[in-house]
Each structure stands twice: as C-alpha cells, then as structure tokens.
C-alpha cells in the first residue's frame, strides 16, 4: 500500500501525459471528428479509408527513405566524430563543443536558417556554387527533388550529429583500455581492433542511438514543412506532415488521429525489431 503511494506521482504523470492522451487519440480515431462542429461515431471507417489513401502511403514511404538516408549519415558521421574526440588531447574540448553546438538550436530555427541559405536569389549556396564555377547558372536547390532531399539531409546531419556523437562517445569511453592494449600486443591492427573490440562493446549505446535516430526521423516534420513546404510537387511530404494536413488543413481530426495510431504502431514494431537485433548475446539468444 505504502509502496503504491510512493509511485503514485510517477503513475499520475504517466497517466496525464501518456495514457490519457493516447486513449483520447484512439477514441478520436473512431469518430468523424471535425475541427469545428459535431463529432459522429464511425467505428473503424477511418481505418478502412486509410487503405485507399495513396497520399498517406506515399508519405510513409518517403519517410522511410528519409529515415534510412539520414540514419546512415547521422550514425556513420557520429561514430567517426566520436572516435576523433573520444580521448583527451589538445583542443578536444573545443571540437566536442563545436560539434555539439548546433544540437542546441531548435529545429524550426535551424530550418529557417537553411531556408534562407538555400534560397536561389538571396541565399548563399546557389550564388556560391555559381561563383566558384561549379554550376553554369544559379540552380534552385529547392525546386529539384534530389537536391532538395539531400540539402535537408545535410542540414539534419549538421544539426543532430553532435547529439549522437555524445552518446557513442560515452560508449567508447566505457570500453576498458586493457582490451585494446591486449589486442594490440597480440598484433591486431587498428581496423581489427575497431571491428572485433570496439564494435561489439559499443553495441548497447549504439542501439540506443539507433532507436532514437530512427524514431526521431520517422517523426520528421519541421524541416520539410519550413524549408520545402513539402515541395517540389508534394514529393517531400512526411507521414507527420500528412497527418498535420489532414488534421489542421482539412480539419479532419478523427482521421488524423487514426493515422497517428497507425504510425505509433509502426514505430513500436520498428523499435522492437531494432532491440531484438541489437540485444546483448549474454541475455541469451
């Protein structure tokens, strides 16, 4: 009884900020619930409608592509940076700070900054590339799907890589030096030491970084909304962007809620798969 009392505040927090909103979302998803006006019970009609909603599946597939691309960029570069700044050395603190600095910028502000930098008429990138002779004339980065896609990826990597660097760095630092020294004495090269000592031992923090990165990217919205407005030709609309449009542009809150529930389910499955793939061997497998 007393124990229940002690956890009551935590339970209350979970209830207020997780369980109740989740329950509300599921409840809403079973209604035709306009932003204004009367709601109406429709059962699973919203979920049925979703099967034929090619826009949502297109958005989901774009989100998947983006997640793969940006995750490789973030974790790859994050690992390289972590290896570079892991051991104390001259100016290490400076580099750590420099790489981490963009993380503290909000996504919206970073996107606005990028929107300006990539503006073809008054920005930086297009005129710069033209003046350097890389392109013959000014190229409108945001008007071409490929360029726009990679431009946003670069922005996100620039902004978020410091965060993953810190997670991976803490993992690297917790590896006892003896292991690496022993391997070195046995004649293992740098690459072998990385492959057979570092990689397996950094597994846990890597799993954490991967799950954070994948779930964060699956929920991407701000950058595509602010920099590209989902363009060119609606080719960069993410799943959350689609849900936002359904809910607040088309005023169909109920349908938006149904899409959110499905997205939540997809995220849960993805996280479970990742945890399974990356769990420690000694936990049995």
């Amino acid at each position: 009884m007393i124990g229940l009392l002690y956890v009551a505040p935590a339970l209350a927090l979970v209830a207020v900020f997780f369980a109740i909103p989740l329950g509300m979302t599921i409840w809403m998803s079973l209604h035709d619930w306009p932003l204004m006006g009367q709601k109406r019970w429709v059962g699973f009609a919203n979920y049925e409608r979703m099967w034929g909603d090619s826009g949502f599946w297109g958005a989901l597939s774009f989100t998947g592509t983006y997640t793969v691309a940006v995750t490789i960029g973030l974790l790859g570069l994050g690992m390289i940076l972590a290896l570079m700044v892991e051991r104390p050395g001259r100016a290490t603190a400076f580099y750590r700070t420099a790489y981490f600095l963009p993380v503290v910028i909000g996504f919206a502000s970073a996107s606005l900054l990028w929107a300006w930098l990539s503006n073809v008429d008054s920005g930086l990138f297009s005129p710069l590339m033209q003046n350097l002779g890389l392109t013959e004339r000014r190229v409108n980065i945001n008007a071409d799907y490929g360029l726009a896609f990679w431009s946003v990826n670069v922005m996100v990597v620039w902004k978020m890589v410091g965060f993953f660097m810190v997670i991976l760095m803490s993992g690297l630092q917790s590896i006892p030096r003896d292991y690496l020294e022993a391997a070195r004495i046995d004649g293992a090269g740098a690459l072998q030491r990385f492959r057979f000592i570092t990689m397996p031992l950094v597994r846990r923090p890597f799993a954490l970084a991967l799950i954070l990165c994948v779930s964060g990217s699956m929920l991407a919205f701000d950058q595509f909304y602010i920099i590209l407005n989902g363009g060119p030709q609606n080719s960069t609309i993410t799943a959350v962007y689609w849900i936002f449009n359904e809910s607040f542009v088309s005023f169909r809150l109920g349908y938006g809620a149904a899409l959110s529930v499905v997205l939540l389910g997809i995220l849960l499955v993805l996280s479970a798969i990742q945890l399974r793939l990356l769990r420690d061997r000694e936990d049995g497998s």
Partner: protein, 416 residues
C-alpha cells in the same frame, strides 16, 4: 426656498435619466495581418464607449486552429475578425451567431461590401459582416520604367503589354527582372492570378461551388502567359519555390518591374520603403477589362457568446462602420468596407488607395467551404497544379490542368 428647488431639481434629474446601461467587456480576436488597424480602432472605441473590447492578436496561420481549440474548450473569443474566405466553413459548422436582424437594420446595409456579404451569408442568414477589405491590384516600379525608356505613368492594360514592359525592364541588367509572382503560394495566386483569368472570362468554380472549372481555355491561356515569361527568364528563379515569403519583399527590393499584389502593399511600401516610386493599377484580362479579388476580414460573433454582450459588440460594429472607424481602418492600410463613405474615409491618404478601393467594389470572392483544402494549402491541387504548369513545358499545360481539375473535383465531392 432655494433648498427646495435644489431638491426638486435633483428629483427631476433622477427621473429624466435613462436606466443605466450595463457596461460590458467582450473579447475580440484578429489575425496578425490586422495589427496595423485593429488596435487603433479598439483603443478609440474603448475611449469613447461605456463598453470595452479586449483585443488579442493571433498569428495569421494559426487563427483557425486556435479558434477551434478554444471553442472546443469553451473559451472561444466573443467575436473575431475572420479571414472572409473562412466564413462559409465556420458558419456551416455552426460556430457563428446569426447577425441577420442586426445587419439589416443598419441604415447603410446596402453599401456594405457585397463580396464580403456573399461569403458571409449561408442559406440566407448573415453570419459575417464586412470588417476590413483588401483588393488585388497590379503594381509597377516607375524608376525602372524610366530607366527602360517606358512611360512611368502608363500601366499595362493587357497581357501583351505586361509582357512587352517586362521584357524592356528585364533587359536592363543581370539582377533586374521584368515580372514577379510567388509560384508556390496558393493564397497569393488566387488573390492575384485568378483575377486576370476572371477578367478574361474564365471561372474557377461553378456559381454554387459544386464544380471545379480549372481546365478552361482562359485558364490555359493565363497559365501559358506566366509560363512563357518564366521560360524566357523574365521572372527570378526563386519564384518557383516561393511559398509566399517574398510575395511582398521581392518587389520592395526594387529590382522587379511589375508584380501583381494587393492594396496592403500600398501602406507597407509607403511606410517601409518610402523611396520606392511605384504605380497602382487594375489587374488586366488578356485583351483588356479588369478584375480583382475582394479579400479581407468578416466580423463574426461566436455562437456561444452571451446575449448580455451583444449590445457591446453591436456598439463596436457600429463604431467601426462610422466615418471615424472607417478612417482609422484606411489609415492602417486596409480599405473601407462602406462604399457610401469610402471616398471620405480615404480623404487625405495616398490617392493610389482610391483605385484599390474601386477595384474592391468590382472585386469577387470565390465561395467554397473547402477553400482551405483546395486553394490555401501549400499541398492542395490549386497551387500544386499551377506550379507544375508554370514551370513545365508548353505542351504539358492542358494535361496538367485537366488532372488538377479532377483532383479538385474529388475533394469537393468528398466534402459533400
């Protein structure tokens, strides 16, 4: 003796005084676009009325969502100045109070902006009253006209003339362009591009809004007119991805010859860019004639508003419709909504406002309860289709428009 008279006088005064009016305070929202005139009107009203209004300014893009959330939570404002194109959707959702009787009792009811009233009326009941107006017009840079050897006081009156002038100005130099429009902004193009098609005889919807008429010969010609200017480099490359951020700023920079814009630009240019010499004219059709989009705000009252507050709200509306109210509106960069005193209200202001006010009287507002979905959404069929057509090739225009029309129609059908 004198004592008695005093008492008698006091008694008389008590009897003669009308029953005291309960002073009421009502809450009022306005979108950020109205922040140039609404605070002044509210301040003047509060200073001279026993009632008072409490003003809150809401970011333009968030007004609908904020209102809906406040309304669901029982804390909707008593009244708001609402972008007029949303009045049908709000009215149809049962959010608004019927103002028909009050409106029809106004002496000057017949001179209130017809475009505002047409979208403010749902099934013969009036839910929205004209509050502020903004019409679309064509503006041109007189300095660049002089440099290019064109007559700075003569505006283009056909599409061919726009094209001709734009070419002359574009030839001035690398960083100078003939024409500008925000090619990824739905709201901007319904406001400025559509009137040029209207003036040429085209339509976007059937009169009851149930059918999309996107793929018409006039629309094809209008799209081709813009598309050819883009192809020939008369328009800066940034227009393709401009979702409205540069709608005003591009022309204000001073390197654009001609741009379709709105009456709001007159006030903004005068205060922020006093050195820019520009002219204001009508948005022409292909071979002459002209049209305009009648935009602005309707004044609406929430359905849940207390009856006790109505006298205060009505007093505020009447004050806004007085000459003083209309003058404050005009001084803040919006157009008056009462045509009978519009000229008086604009007296002493920039004469270019007169033309914009005239454009307003013949302005049109398309009616659709799904306007947001179709037109304003950055991902809706209107702007997605136009963007593809404006920046594509000539032989694709027809097919693109036909596809856009089908998409529009399916959204309209879905909503019914």
């Amino acid at each position: 003796m004198s004592h008695n008279r005093l008492i008698g006088g006091l008694l008389l005064a008590t009897v003669a005084l009308p029953a005291p009016v309960m002073a009421e305070t009502f809450s009022l929202w306005v979108r950020a676009d109205g922040s140039n005139f609404m605070p002044q009107i509210v301040e003047a009203f509060n200073a001279q009325s026993e009632h008072s209004a409490e003003l809150q300014i809401v970011p333009t893009a968030e007004l609908v969502q904020k209102y809906a959330i406040a309304s669901a939570g029982g804390s909707a404002p008593d009244a708001l100045s609402l972008d007029l194109i949303y009045t049908p959707a709000f009215g149809a959702a049962g959010q608004l109070r019927d103002l028909t009787e009050f409106a029809q009792d106004l002496d000057y009811f017949d001179s209130l902006s017809p475009a505002h009233l047409s979208v403010g009326t749902v099934e013969d009941r009036i839910y929205g009253l004209p509050f502020s107006a903004d019409s679309s017009v064509l503006i041109w840079n007189k300095d660049l006209y002089r440099e290019a050897g064109l007559d700075p006081d003569v505006a283009p009156t056909t599409w061919a003339e726009i094209r001709e002038h734009a070419e002359a100005i574009d030839a001035l130099g690398e960083e100078t362009y003939g024409f500008y429009f925000s090619g990824a902004c739905g709201g901007c193009n319904i406001f400025t591009f559509m009137p040029m098609v209207w003036a040429s005889g085209g339509e976007l919807f059937s009169s009851d809004g149930s059918e999309a008429r996107f793929d018409s010969p006039q629309m094809r010609e209008g799209v081709e007119f813009y598309r050819a200017m883009v192809e020939d480099g008369l328009v800066p490359a940034g227009s393709q991805t401009d979702g409205g951020i540069n709608f005003f700023a591009a022309f204000a920079n001073g390197n654009i010859g001609i741009t379709p814009s709105g009456a709001f630009a007159i006030g903004a240019l005068n205060t922020q860019y006093p050195d820019l010499d520009y002219g204001v004219s009508y948005l022409p059709g292909k071979d002459g004639a002209w049209s305009s989009f009648a935009g602005g705000d309707n004044f609406v009252v929430s359905a849940a508003t207390d009856d006790d507050k109505m006298p205060a709200i009505e007093a505020f509306i009447e004050f806004a419709y007085s000459l003083e109210g209309q003058r404050l509106l005009a001084a803040g960069g919006a157009l008056p909504v009462r045509s009978d005193i519009a000229e008086e209200a604009l007296e002493g202001l920039d004469p270019r406002y007169i033309l914009a006010a005239d454009a307003m009287t013949n302005g049109r507002t398309p009616f659709s309860p799904v306007f947001n979905d179709l037109i304003n959404s950055a991902n809706g069929p209107w702007i997605t289709t136009l963007n593809r057509a404006f920046y594509g090739t000539a032989d694709e225009v027809g097919e693109t428009l036909a596809q856009g029309e089908a998409e529009m129609q399916s959204i309209i059908d879905d909503a019914n």
